[in-house]
């Protein structure tokens, strides 16, 4: 038991010590772990394959240089397929119906505090300003 605990603590330390690539997105579990360990804002992105507005976000907005930079600095993105079993459970839990949806959380004493939510596609400029607003509301450096 003690050994297992050590391994667990060890792996958590490793997570915080190693370089995490915040330019990409992670499954929900991994992303929330990174948000906790690195004190980042968790952005849960619900998408679906069939939705043209998600495609628009993926092609033009989430890949935009300024948007990517903002996300890379302060956020960690959880990529959730809203049609998957995990995605359905998470969207019910987070009351995120429809795609694209973005729900923001900040780690707070072992739990999560919702910091904002967005539904629907938007332009690059608008999405960027909303990210900055959420970042500023949460506080800290590097909100752009």
């Amino acid at each position: 038991m003690r050994y297992m605990l050590l391994v667990l603590v060890g792996s958590l330390l490793m997570v915080s010590a190693q370089e995490v690539d915040f330019d990409r997105w992670y499954p929900y579990g991994q992303a929330s772990q990174y948000a906790q360990s690195q004190g980042r804002i968790l952005m849960v992105y619900f998408w679906s394959h069939a939705c043209p507005y998600c495609d628009q976000m993926n092609t033009f907005v989430l890949s935009d240089e300024a948007v990517s930079k903002a996300l890379r600095q302060r956020f960690v993105v959880a990529s959730v397929d809203s049609q998957s079993p995990e995605g359905r459970a998470l969207s019910t839990q987070m009351r995120a119906f429809g795609t694209p949806s973005f729900v923001f959380f900040v780690p707070q004493g072992g739990t999560w505090k919702e910091a904002g939510r967005l539904f629907g596609s938007r332009t690059r400029a608008q999405f960027l300003s909303e990210l900055r607003q959420i970042c500023a509301k949460v506080g800290g450096e590097g909100c752009g």
Binding site: C51, C54, P100, F119, G120, R124
Partner: protein, 153 residues
């Protein structure tokens, strides 16, 4: 009306009211909705070595594109010039707000001055059809394509 279109319609209404301000300011300046000459200029210089002011708006160029597109990923455009085929060298197409404003270039050599394709438009902005003539003129038709913002239910 199914659920998806309903959500889209309501999202559209919200977006519509948000866009209203931007639209009014665009109209006040006399420009097309989403116009971004500074960004367009990059593409024009790179591809044609020309500036926006070197392009001549012309009725001889007909550009057919939707005024509203559900997705910017697949916007049909059709360009036709009412000029003799042997006077047209090439057709170029740009969109003001794309990171890379050039959408395509097509060089014509024996076909009629017509071209149709489907393009990607990053966000609400004018699409510019530029017909290059053999005697070095650049004739232009512009039309704004509004890329709707919204979501799926």
């Amino acid at each position: 009306m199914d659920r998806r279109t309903f959500l889209k319609a309501s999202a559209g209404a919200v977006a519509g009211s948000m866009l209203a301000n931007q639209l009014t300011s665009a109209l006040a300046q006399g420009g097309l909705e989403g116009e971004d000459i500074a960004n367009l200029e990059k593409g024009l210089q790179q591809v044609l070595g020309k500036s926006f002011k070197d392009l001549t708006p012309s009725q001889q160029v007909k550009l057919v594109a939707p005024t509203i597109a559900e997705s910017g990923a697949n916007v049909p455009v059709e360009i036709e010039a009412s000029l003799p085929a042997d006077q047209v060298k090439a057709i170029h197409c740009f969109s003001d707000k794309n990171a890379n404003p050039l959408l395509f270039t097509v060089v014509l050599n024996g076909v009629l001055p017509y071209y149709a394709t489907r393009v990607r438009v990053a966000e609400t902005a004018p699409v510019r059809a530029v017909v290059e003539t053999k005697d070095g003129k650049f004739l232009m038709a512009s039309q704004s394509v509004r890329v709707t913002v919204g979501g799926c239910g």
